[in-house]
């Protein structure tokens, strides 16, 4: 506190207004409410086994949502994540089936770790294309990523002729077994995919709250011109967030195809919307500059636990769609109440 503060030592007297608390912790309370209601409706819901299964479903959306959060904090949007997910899955599938080098007349079977690395690099490259289009060529994010969404999906369809790679388990002779490890194995009882999500979330959280890059991101999302004049490399930040989003989509694609032990070109359709929903439910502002990893994780769990719960109690999938939509609208409504109350002044 500065000593120029005139008789106004901000003693935040614990004036806990219940409304305020509910509003700021809304995603958390929504999650608690969802768990409570479904536990009441179905005895199978509140079990460790079910929670872990639901969490492994959330993992896919959660990983996408973290990438989406970075982009949204920057004031952008990434519609291509679902397509990059599919393209990465298909590329991984193709590599598992062997890459035929016709000139040499041999078929290469890269080991799983190489498949994983190459797939992530591919995702990052596609993301970087988004970033370059937006940062250097000034294409609006919505349009650039919409285009890339179509192109990536199209390429995935072309590569596979619309078919799905079904056998991804590799074989011991070729030394490329272990692809299903990501989707099926557990460490200490926890599915690997959930651990991957947790790891990414912790890294992203640290990056946002503690690193210089995080500060740059919040600043350039809040006011790009001011950030630029303060020495923030705004273009680099922009390209980086789209690249990271693409890479995380590839990770999600790997997890998904590993869980399904198959990779199809139509996987992940509309997942970009689910990811956006998770970010918004988590309290981030679509205008940029506001949002946290914690909120986004809560948002992803709200969506995942809600839709799995509806399945468990046997509600039709049509109703699931309605419910999910209602939750999103409600979340945005509360966002505008929260940010609207911080009146702008002059």
């Amino acid at each position: 506190m500065s000593d120029t503060t005139i008789s106004r030592a901000a003693t935040p007297k614990a004036s806990f207004s219940l409304g305020r608390l509910l509003l700021e912790g809304r995603a958390f309370f929504a999650l608690i409410a969802i768990i409570a209601v479904f536990s009441f409706l179905s005895p199978n819901y509140l079990t460790v086994g079910n929670f872990l299964i639901m969490a492994s479903h959330v993992a896919i959306y959660g990983i996408l949502a973290i990438g989406m959060l970075l982009v949204i904090l920057n004031g952008g949007i990434d519609l291509s994540v679902g397509s990059i997910l599919a393209l990465s899955g298909v590329m991984a599938g193709a590599m598992m089936q062997g890459i035929e080098l016709q000139a040499l007349g041999i078929i290469l079977y890269p080991p799983v770790w190489a498949v994983v690395v190459l797939t992530c690099v591919l995702g990052a490259l596609v993301g970087a294309v988004n970033g370059v289009l937006i940062a250097w060529f000034k294409v609006p994010a919505f349009v650039a990523t919409l285009g890339v969404m179509y192109v990536a999906r199209g390429v995935a369809l072309l590569l596979t002729n619309g078919l799905t790679y079904n056998n991804l388990s590799g074989s011991a002779d070729l030394g490329n077994t272990g692809f299903d490890w990501l989707g099926f194995n557990r460490l200490g009882g926890v599915p690997i995919s959930v651990l991957v999500l947790a790891g990414i979330a912790v890294l992203a959280g640290l990056m946002l709250s503690r690193s210089a890059f995080g500060r740059w991101l919040y600043a350039s999302g809040g006011n790009e011109r001011a950030a630029d004049l303060s020495g923030v490399p705004v273009r680099r930040v922009k390209i980086t967030v789209y690249t990271l989003s693409g890479m995380l989509s590839a990770v999600a694609g790997l997890v998904l195809s590993s869980q399904l032990t198959s990779a199809g070109p139509t996987a992940g359709t509309t997942y970009e919307l689910t990811a956006i929903a998770a970010v918004v439910i988590g309290g981030a502002a679509l205008t940029g500059g506001r949002g946290t990893v914690r909120g986004t994780m809560l948002g992803a769990f709200v969506i995942g636990f809600l839709s799995d719960g509806l399945v468990i109690i046997g509600v039709s999938s049509y109703w699931q769609t309605v419910f999910t939509g209602a939750v999103i609208v409600l979340a945005v409504l509360m966002n505008s109440i929260q940010y609207g109350s911080r009146a702008r002044k002059g």
Binding site: T5, S15, S211, A226, D228, P233, R290, R342
Partner: protein, 513 residues
Amino acid sequence: MTDIPNAKPDLGEVVLAARNVAKSYGQIHALKGVNFDIHRGQVTTLFGENGAGKSTLMKILSGVIQPTAGQIILDGAAVAFDNSTDARNRGISIIHQELSLAPNLSVRDNIFMGREIMGPGGVDFAEEERQTRKLMEGLEEDIDPLTPVEELRLGQQQIVEIARALSVDSRILIMDEPTSALSATEVEVLFKVIRDLKSKGVSIVYISHHLEEALQITDHAVVLRDGTMTAYAPRAEIDLEWFVRNMVGENYDLGSPPGGYGFGNVALSLRDVTVPDPKGADFNVVDRFSLDVRAGEVVCIYGLMGAGRTELLETVAGRLRASTGEVVLEGLEISHLTIAERIARGLALVPEDRQRDGLVQTMTVGQNLSLASIAAFTKGLFTQKKAEQALIEDSIRKVTVKTSGGGAAIGSLSGGNQQKVVIGKMLATNPRVIMLDEPSRGIDIGAKAEVFKLLAERAKQGLAVIYSTSEVGECLSIAHRIIVMHKGRISAEFDSTVSKEKIMAASGESVAA
């Protein structure tokens, strides 16, 4: 105290009044029971230091925000305004301190936003355009009604904001620092308009930190301090002595340029810098501009709006590209460096438009203050909380920001305090050369003196300062050398002993008698 607040001689009918009006934001009491009268056909000036509550009171009187306690009395009857449209419909309009224009819309559309003129086939754009032209003529401003507002300079945007308030034909016009981005000529025109309005019976409230300016038009003055009214006086009783006694408590002498030391080597050297019009028009906003500034020297660049000062400084800072010429910082040609690299080498710019270029509204006061010096408190991968906190507190103290702490939202600061944050942010980078573009916009006299003192101190330690302003007085009290800029070129150069009139004449300004 001879000035008893509210013991006012009745000089004309009171049209709008505040009675015991209070406003709190949580723990912060912006207004603590204020009484304030507006008289028919007269100008009332509201003085007060940054954060005193001036804007808050005006927003309450114009329905933008609602008071936590107290009453507003319009024509003798208590009223409550739901919002600013409600107040506008009853004849009260306001020119905001922070511009409230839609940057993507044209001047015309901004002026008629929310009250478009309807014709038989929808909005009557032709009529709106005609009226806009007339308003611009009245303000003697050559602005095309169809230009998007974002293409206008800050001062021109302020003119549009003024025109919008004038277009409503209101009975009560509130002006919250309307002249902060205007140059002397434009202020003259505005005063002419104000006198004209007065003669038509319009009542005006005027907020300014500029005593001499306000004295030209005011009929009454009121001083607000820490949310309470501390003094009232009619024009006849207001003089510098009254002002000093009630406003600041001490006579701030902005003084004369720092002396008693020699200048160092040339810190910044500009050679034939030419900058084409950023909007693509076919002329150069800066035209073969050359200047050397030595370490420890304070150079003031004076000029009218549109002289090319902002473009020049933005080019040196790295935002705009020069088409020809060299920018040399301490012997190193820096034209190819990014803004970040220039800041790291010790070149800092305090931009003119704090809302657009200075502040990140979604971040806190502290995060804004530390934004340009992140590297200074980052070790390895992570930022160091303690080091950052120290830097923030140091800045808050140095530029005297009135805030509840570094964690406060930037939007909770008063306009002048936001300006101090922009200055503090760039000073925190420990520059070797600092360029300030109209830095005194909206800050009170005490703060201005503080900033001048700071600049003088740093100059003695070898900081080179380029200070761009449209207030001659500021040039004379800070600068060793005064450059007058006109149409992108240097039109004259003076030392600090020159007279005001000479400077103004060289800028192409018609000197007011």
